[in-house]
Symmetry: C2
Subunit: 389 residues, 2 copies
């Protein structure tokens, strides 16, 4: 299938805009720098795009100064690729080097801030991790007395939540590819097919439809429904009466779709049909509530009020949707605790789930972008009734 | 292509043996527990296998006590899958919960150790990261005064380096699939094909050959050679005289192959042929040196001495191979700094690289297992001369 040829990467103006927005917020919060260690954050501000992060061996650092372009402190193996981005100041070392994996380069860069007791933003809040050895982090902090480490999680997550038009184009593209892939599922699977072959066929089809990759594919199948929503495939063959769920995060140019579809094999029982109907209508309620000015909590409650017809627990996956972009899941969370106000340009999943029968769980998911008038679907809406293959 | 049907997962005895070996080492080092946060470590001791770790939202914890089975402290969304493993004590909470994402459950579990001033092993050394919010980590440590945090990186990495026969079977399987996939490359690509289509064809073929997934695929192509070894694909069409390199980490049942192949498009110039020949012979030197009792440094020096014929820098990727298993790259490193002694059952890459011409780099890689007599290839050996397509 041929789709419009999008340009890979972004114009330099995109990175400049991201950086300047961060710097305006940094100034308002009294931060003289921001130190980033994680793949999406480094990529967001630099354009550095590689799967090499899967190797845990080397740490990578991007420093956002109060003004000017970011500075990369990275292993030499990445320097050639970083030189293709808009970053000019690239400081590299021959890594791995267990005795000094970038720590002295980083200390040198940050020493002036430490000497004047400046505030440095780091990511230490919800949904973050420290993507370097904790021992090296402790050594770095000890080497820089005076530096005031300040949590800048909200600053960075707040920026990343609202997508640019160029980002939305990439997300629209991959959601279209995901939808076209799910459309082919009924032609590709049948009773007797082992689940691992179902997964393999789905992955191959997504690539044929134009995905770069399918980093995330989980799912389950069982009589009348499934008990788990994050499993790798088993070798169990699909059986008449199974409900099959596939949940995929496919990527194009580093941006994810994240949605699932349910299929009944041969026939569907009433309990599964009923659960599906409730979830479909819960998603409708979410679509109606997903407009600028409402909060994630509002969205959660709109979805939850429909789920409660059948189940007051909403399954137990902890939230009913989330942000989507360079990662499979991003901030915010559609949950009672999240009062983030929805804004134009946010790309979100709506993901109602419920428990039914004996320990069965059903999930349902769509991807949307928030526009001035409300939700715009990026995925082709799931069928209103549980499809039977 | 049909291969021997291997069993997915492991017998319970495998996890028991891993746990008991860890506990023996813990006893020797005076550790009363081991706290693990990262995917490969949690999977290694529990068998918990899911791609859901790609979502950064939730932390996961596995505690190895001084005796008995590991204890899982995990988000509720993972409890159903964890109940399918050998783990019995599963403590879960409804996550995400920014105010308390498992911290009070974990504090309760660790409080007895803290009260008696016990030593708790954590991973804070080379090649590790802290896969939870740093802020939550600091709160946990503050809540447990008296607990002596001790680096157990060497303990865990030392265990994981030496593979069991069941692990070697999975690694042999995926390396066979990777080799069969590379064998098809000459039939699938040709001058004029954009690099992104080369990548897509490779991924589809690897799945057809039986891979579960191809999480890692990087590569480059350019006139006479390439300048970067970790790039995503561009849309540039392959041209006569290009050297194309593809480097893949494909997976089966959670185990990786990691190797690359080079191809000349239409014709190869002398410089590329010469670089290829040196790398091929450097790998031969590595194969000869890869036997029990030699160190990683010995292996490094054996490979480096051949590379030095053409280039005394060995490219600049920092090492000439590494461990391989549940991750694309694992300990140890074939580098001058690594004095790890090679043992039977270690699965390794041999990965010579060199710089040549004007800023060109060439890489070459094979995967091996160390046997009593020396190296056994898991990959089908690369052709001795640069293949021309």
């Amino acid at each position: 299938m041929q789709r419009k040829a999008l340009t890979r990467g972004f114009e330099q103006a995109e990175f400049q805009a991201r950086t300047e927005k961060a710097q305006a917020l940094m100034a308002a919060q009294g931060l003289e720098g921001l130190l980033l260690l994680t793949e999406p954050e480094v990529r967001y501000f630099s354009g550095f795009n590689t799967l090499f992060w899967q190797s845990p061996t080397r740490p990578w650092f991007l420093f956002i100064p109060a003004a000017g372009k970011p500075i990369a402190v990275i292993p030499e193996i990445g320097a050639a690729l970083m030189r293709q981005t808009w970053i000019e100041d690239i400081r590299s070392w021959s890594a791995p080097a267990p005795q000094d994996d970038g720590i002295s380069l980083l200390s040198e860069l940050l020493a002036p801030l430490a000497q004047r007791g400046a505030r440095l933003g780091i990511l230490k809040g919800h949904e973050t991790s420290l993507r370097m050895p904790l021992g090296d982090w402790e050594r770095l902090v000890q080497a820089l007395p005076g530096l005031q480490l300040t949590d800048a999680t909200g600053l960075v997550q707040g920026l990343r939540m609202v997508k640019s038009q160029a980002e939305i184009e990439k997300l629209t593209h991959i959601c279209g590819i995901g939808s076209a892939t799910f459309d082919q599922v009924p032609k590709q699977i049948s009773e007797g097919m082992p689940l691992e072959e179902v997964f393999r066929a789905f992955r191959r089809e997504a690539l044929a439809q134009g995905a770069d990759d399918v980093p995330y594919l989980v799912g389950s199948a069982g009589p009348g429904g499934y008990v788990d929503v994050i499993s790798p495939p088993s070798r169990r063959p699909l059986q008449m009466g199974d409900v099959l769920m596939l949940d995929t995060g496919a990527t194009w140019d580093g941006y994810f779709c994240d949605f699932d579809r349910n299929f009944a094999i041969g026939a569907a029982d009433d309990a599964a049909r009923r659960a599906y109907d409730v979830l479909w209508r819960a998603t409708e309620a979410g679509l109606a509530a997903a407009k600028p000015g409402n909060t994630c909590r509002d969205l959660f409650q709109a979805i939850q009020s429909v789920i409660a017809e059948l189940d007051d627990q909403g399954g137990d996956i902890g939230r009913l949707g989330h942000g989507l972009g360079m990662q499979l899941t991003e901030q915010p969370s559609h949950a009672a605790f999240d009062t983030t106000v929805l804004q134009e340009g946010m790309v979100l999943t709506l993901e109602p789930s419920l428990g039914y029968g004996e320990s069965l769980i059903m999930v349902h998911e769509e991807n949307i972008v928030i526009r001035a008038q409300g939700a715009e679907l990026l995925t082709r809406r799931a069928a209103p009734e549980l499809p039977v293959i």
